[in-house]
């Protein structure tokens, strides 16, 4: 791979990481901590919204974020034809049973 496409790959990678981390920050530190009292005015079922995000919702979002990341990165790898699944980057001594 040329230096140029390596740089493009890295830039795209940074963009994915930063956008997912801003969602991560907004949900946990934003909705779960900073705005939690305001969100508590909204109710659904037996939950106050802020309380629910702090104790349940944020965790579901975290799981979702990692799977979106896996999906986007797999796509990015394919686009740059970096076949990481060949495992050729590991030293071959690791095939022992």
């Amino acid at each position: 791979m040329s230096d140029n496409s390596a740089q493009n790959y890295w830039k795209a990678n940074i963009k994915i990481v930063l956008s997912l981390l801003s969602i991560w920050f907004f949900i946990s530190f934003g909705c779960g901590i900073l705005f939690v009292d305001a969100l508590d005015n909204i109710r659904f079922g037996g939950f106050k919204l802020g309380f629910w995000i702090a104790q349940q919702g944020s965790i579901f979002v975290f799981v979702g974020l990692i799977f979106v990341y896996i999906h986007l990165m797999d796509k990015l790898d394919d686009k740059f034809k970096l076949e990481s699944s060949n495992a050729s980057d590991t030293d071959t001594g690791g095939d022992s049973e």
Binding site: L34, S84, N86, S96
Partner: protein, 557 residues
Amino acid sequence: MSVQIWTYAFVFLTFGLYIGIAIWSRASSTKEFYVAGGNVPPLANGMATAADWMSAASFISMAGLIAFLGRDGAFYLMGWTGGYVLLALLLAPYLRKFGKFTVPDFIGDRYYSRTARLIAVFCAIVISFVYVCGQMQGAGIVFSRFLEVDITIGVIIGMAIVFFYAVMGGMKGITYTQVAQYCVLIFAFMVPAIFISILMTGQLIPQIGFGSELLDGSGFLLDRLDGLSAELGFPTYTDGHRSTQDVFFITAALMFGTAGLPHVIIRFFTVPNVRDARKSAGFALIFIAILYTTAPAVSAFAKTNLINTVNNIEYTAVPEWFTKWETTNLIVFDDKNSDGLIQYVGDPEINELQVNRDIMVLANPEIAGLPNWVVALVAAGALAAALSTAAGLLLVISTSVAHDFLKRSFMPGITEKQELRYARISIFLAVLVAGYFGINPPAYVAQVVAFAFGLAAASFFPAIVMGIFYKRMNRQGAIAGMLAGFGFTAMYIIYFRFINPAADNTENWWFGISPEGIGTLGAMANLAVAYTVAKFTPAPPLEVQKIVERIRLPGDI
């Protein structure tokens, strides 16, 4: 059958399983011993990571802590899961691409320095030892309460089991035992939670029962709990009572700490490639989230149940579990007004009941009157949680000593066979020391756990992230940063916890940050110092910059 017979049955069954796996997975090379040969499938690694991560504290203490903290307990929930987002996005894939055995390996190679490597070895050993003592102690409590054996014998049995599969199988044995331990612990946590959810709200899924109406017609669970708390003078359950900045900093410290804990990071060295490292981080968080989203529901169920069961009850008419836990001093009743009734209220002058938060999960099935086999299952689950985490930590100690300290720093000439022998000897010694502290716990075990997270957050996390994302970061910057972060965090915690505990309150804390949250400030100090020092010192050598470029690309470059 009695609870005790059921418990013996479950414990023998699960321990037999762990020993069987140990015999099947003997390690014959250092690569097998350190990283399970590097060919663990991502799903299995996800389960192993979850068991590795979820300790006696997650299983036994967390739901109880939340039951007494209310909404503020969210810093444990978000902190200990949100850290996996950082781990998956910022560390795991790159460290897997780097392709060595340990965290000090990365620090030492990336910062081309034996000093940096030795600082990392020191941090890894301190963090892991602090953590492992708590695990052994947790195992001891379970043995003494459920099997009614002496705590010493309990810890020795636990040590013997861990010793067996960790020394024989290394990471390979640990990985596959952890997979089994995950299944045991999650089953043991979910079964009582589901039972209680059905009993109290008629909902099969505890996460839904958490927000449902109670079957006794007293309205929504959380409203009822708020009502009961207000009535008895406890802080309301669904409101926050700590300052926002403290909750913010504690959450951040737990997240950075989670991402920087060496026993979690090394799990990602065991999968075949970068793609699998990403995938297994996702699986790990799913497996963790099952327990972590159930725990707050268990907290609310248990708190409501506890108040309903014991408040204003005649002491002579208390259920059997109450008396049993009283013998362990984890429940203490003091009839201040001598009316023979238990007053469980918020006002410390009138309150007559002290309930240790650690028993909320262990006693919960008994409080709810669940069948004996469910009560016994919890004991097997708690042991699985304690032993799986202990094994992962012991391996970090052993690799730090045999690989990083001896082989890479002082005895580069030793053969693989010798290195493997040193790894086994050091894991053996580490088991003995951990066992000693499990039997003779230092009085401050609970406090020093804050150390593990704060120190990992302030030392490893920034050093690794900068090593990957900031190519210009050099040896001088990283070493200065780690020393500053580690030193600052350690001093703050030592001052407020050991030197001057009387001053440990909001007025004296810097910016209102408690010692639990100070790791966040330590991490910032690390970053600031490292960046400044790196600005005024030469750039890292070209071959190190090449390493950074290589780990940024997942393929065979």
